[in-house]
């Protein structure tokens, strides 16, 4: 610094000039817009077209939604309140809320039961979906089907208790014998469960439903979105083990088992779900013992479970095929037998690969539960098309109702697929 005064040169830069900010067109939102929206002639045209489309959509729907009437008794009253303005008549949702959610026959004073079952379902599903939660919660998950059955159908508490006892006995037998021989444990468990259920069933008196703590609700009284949820959750949970079994069967070395599985899977995948629902509604009854009455709900659950099991089996087969052959050989060389190899080495990896596919099947299945409205069950779509749109008060309120149904399904299905993406990231243990 001291040299400066003696230096004849007038100016010497003694440091770098601080960088000046980029020009306004090269920074921030303007740059972003130039790059992403108006980078060329085609792009600009596309942007303008999109903006116009969005504008048209919003202009037509926003006033309709914002002017919506939430309190009215009928469409006529809605129109009176709107007084010529465009506006939705959301009053149908508030007025028919219970019908949309629970169906039109579920007893009014028992709505808390499905509500409680729904909340408990979230609790029961939590440890399965998020495995950072304490493992002890799985105990509740195991209990949940019986609790939910009792809450929703009501009636004698002995029915779910006997069912639970059968399962507990089967589990105990499997624990005891399954360690040495998987087959012995497995078949022993089935036999014990059947014995407990038969003995227990015989012990329950005929009139057990009289004066039960929760009044009994027959299956045909279930309806609305509750029915969709119940069918979806039940069938997906049941079809997962069945699908794994079918996938393993299809890979089996035993020709008989392999071909039975192949024929079953290809048959189910070759026909539309509607024909299977026709089977449930008009044909399946012929295959049950003459004096038995199996209600429609159970028949539909059987058919939808078979349907989704076939699809899940194909997804899992893909996962099994994607595993390197070395994994099977490693399991063999460790001296593991087939059930051990599958349980400890093959299935954990194969199922992990299959998760996106399984979730896709689950979402598809949940959407397909709306098809039961075709065989005159009153699920959400059935309720809308049947009792609600046919009533004199609400004849003609299409968009509010269909939009509501679409929104409900969108929220659930989109949520599930977001969960699946999270799970994929969470499970990615390999290094890239």
């Amino acid at each position: 610094m001291a040299d400066q005064t003696t230096n004849p040169i007038a100016f010497v830069a003694d440091g770098t000039i601080p960088p000046s900010p980029p020009p306004a067109s090269q920074t921030g939102i303007i740059k972003w817009m130039r790059e992403n929206l108006f980078s060329g002639v085609t792009n600009t045209i596309l942007t303008v077209l999109s903006l116009m489309l969005i504008y048209v959509l919003l202009r037509n729907t926003l006033p309709w939604i914002l002017n919506g009437v939430w309190n009215a008794d009928s469409l006529a009253q809605c129109r009176e309140i709107l007084d010529g303005k465009t506006g939705a008549c959301f009053a149908v949702l508030t007025e028919r809320w219970h019908q949309l959610i629970y169906g039109f026959k579920y007893p009014d004073d028992a709505y808390w039961r499905p509500n409680l079952a729904f909340v408990l379902m979230l609790v029961a599903a939590a440890p399965v979906l998020f495995f950072d939660l304490p493992r002890k919660m799985l105990l509740f998950t195991a209990l949940y089907p019986f609790v939910a059955f009792w809450l929703i159908w009501g009636g004698a508490i002995m029915v779910p208790v006997v069912a639970l006892l059968g399962c507990v006995a089967a589990g105990a037998v499997f624990q005891k014998f399954g360690r040495n021989s998987f087959a012995t444990g497995f078949f022993g468990a089935i036999i014990v469960a059947l014995v407990v259920w038969n003995v227990g069933g015989a012990l329950i008196p005929e009139d057990a439903n009289e004066g039960a703590m929760l009044s009994a609700v027959p299956s045909r009284d279930l309806g609305g979105f509750m029915l969709n949820l119940m069918l979806g959750v039940t069938c997906v949970s049941l079809s997962l083990p069945l699908g794994i079994a079918l996938a393993l069967g299809r890979q089996s070395d035993m020709p008989l088992i392999k071909w039975v599985c192949v024929i079953f899977i290809e048959f189910i995948r070759g026909v539309p779900l509607i024909t299977l629902l026709f089977v449930a509604s008009v044909m399946l009854a012929y295959f049950f013992p003459p004096d038995s009455t199996v209600d429609l709900f159970l028949r539909v659950v059987i058919m939808i479970t078979m349907f989704s099991a076939a699809y899940i089996a194909e997804v899992i087969r893909g996962g099994l095929a994607a595993l390197p052959r070395g994994q099977y050989e490693a399991a063999d060389s460790l001296g593991l037998d087939y059930p051990q190899a599958m349980r400890l080495i093959i299935l954990p990896q194969a199922l992990k690969i299959s998760i996106p596919g399984i979730v896709n099947v689950a979402v598809g299945l949940f959407k397909d539960t709306t098809l039961v409205s075709v065989i005159s069950m009153f699920d959400l779509v059935g309720m809308i098309r049947g009792p609600i749109l046919a009533s004199t008060e609400w004849n003609g309120v299409y968009w509010e109702l269909l939009g509501f149904a679409a929104l409900l399904f969108f929220v659930v299905c989109y949520g599930i697929s977001q969960y699946s993406q999270w799970l994929e990231r969470r499970l990615a243990t390999d290094h890239h």
Binding site: E35, N36, L37, S39, N43, L46, T47, S50, L51, L53, I54, S181, A183, M254, P255, L256, I257, V260, E266, F267, R269, G270, V271, P272, L273, I274, T275, F278, V279, V282, M283, A285, Y286, F287, F288, P289, P290, D332, D337, Y338, V363, K367, D368, T370, L371, S373, V374, V381, R385, G396, Y398, W399, L402, A405, A406, F409, F410, C413, Y414, S417
Partner: protein
Amino acid sequence: MSTMTDPPKADFRLSMLINDTRYRSLTFQVIAAIVIALSIWYLGNNLIQNLRAAGLNISYAFLGDSSGYDINQRLIEYDSQSSHGRAAVVGILNTLLVAFLACITATIFGVIAGVLRLSNNWLVSKLMAVYVEIFRNIPVLIWIIIIFTIMTAVLPGPRAFRGDNPTSSMLFDLFAFTNRGVYVPRPEFAHGLFGPAVLNWILVLAVLVGSWFATREIDKRATKTQEETGERPKTTLLNLAVWLVPFVILMFLMGLTWNVPELKGFNFSGGIKVGGPLIALWFALSIYTGAFIAENVRAGIQAISKGQTEAAAALGLRPGRIMNLVILPQALRVIIPPLISQYLNITKNSSLAIAVGYADITATLGGITLNQTGRAIECVLLLMLFYLTASLLISMVMNIYNASVKLKER
């Protein structure tokens, strides 16, 4: 699994059935065979008893009986005097019609949306993402009902087209969109070369196929010249001429006229009437499946590594030729198999026609015929047989295609 170098010669013991790997799979299969046979016997026995109790038997004779119901949308002659069997055939043709139409439009929607979703334009790609998510996450049945409702509740009735001051008018005076269906002009031949109209149409098709072969030949020759001389002769105009000239001459010879729909009395007459249910089903299936196809197309294009594009560019190819010669041939190998399974889904989902009253096979055979005759087992079995055949045919095509585009490895 385990290999024994020296198989023991010990006597056969019963426990070896389950513990010895040589016999175990046999044991399991015998058990499985017994269980399956018992279940079939049990179910069959129940079926026989139930049928006897209901006084029914399995017979397909009802297919020859007069059906007694009418079908609006049909491709072949049919009236209420026709047999149930003919009603089923009408249904099959209707199923194939809607499936065919929906496959074409779904592919168009899907490819456009899939490509646009990869666009650099932020707004467009987000818009397409919203389209895909909305349509994939809402049941197709709801979409069919929504579009059917638009058809019946929003479109005007034929009455609105009448009078001096009509509230609605025809599009270009050619198309009429009414709540009873859409009317479009019908091409007709004033002096066809053959008597029946079908033969004339076959002739048109033959000319088009001929033009296609001719253009292929022209392209082949052009490629040959290019390989010999290095210069590719211009073929665009020639190709265009080969397509247009024979076609126009044929149309002129046969006297093509358009039968335009007209309002007569309370309804439109003339033209082709495309019923509301068909349009609802067609459009809903296309736009719903289009969302799935868009995802397949996107995945297919993204599956081709960026290095391919860069290598092609380094060779000096223009962007259009990079797409045509390098990216698409590889991407198609990824896209086509899921695309064909989407076609399979369209065929199966077309059975939802029953929800809007389109007379496909499910609605005729599985709906009205079943309810009228009460022959549940026969109808449902025939229905399943049809769909199973269609599915197996489509997957056969898929397997042939997969084999033909498979990477040829040594």
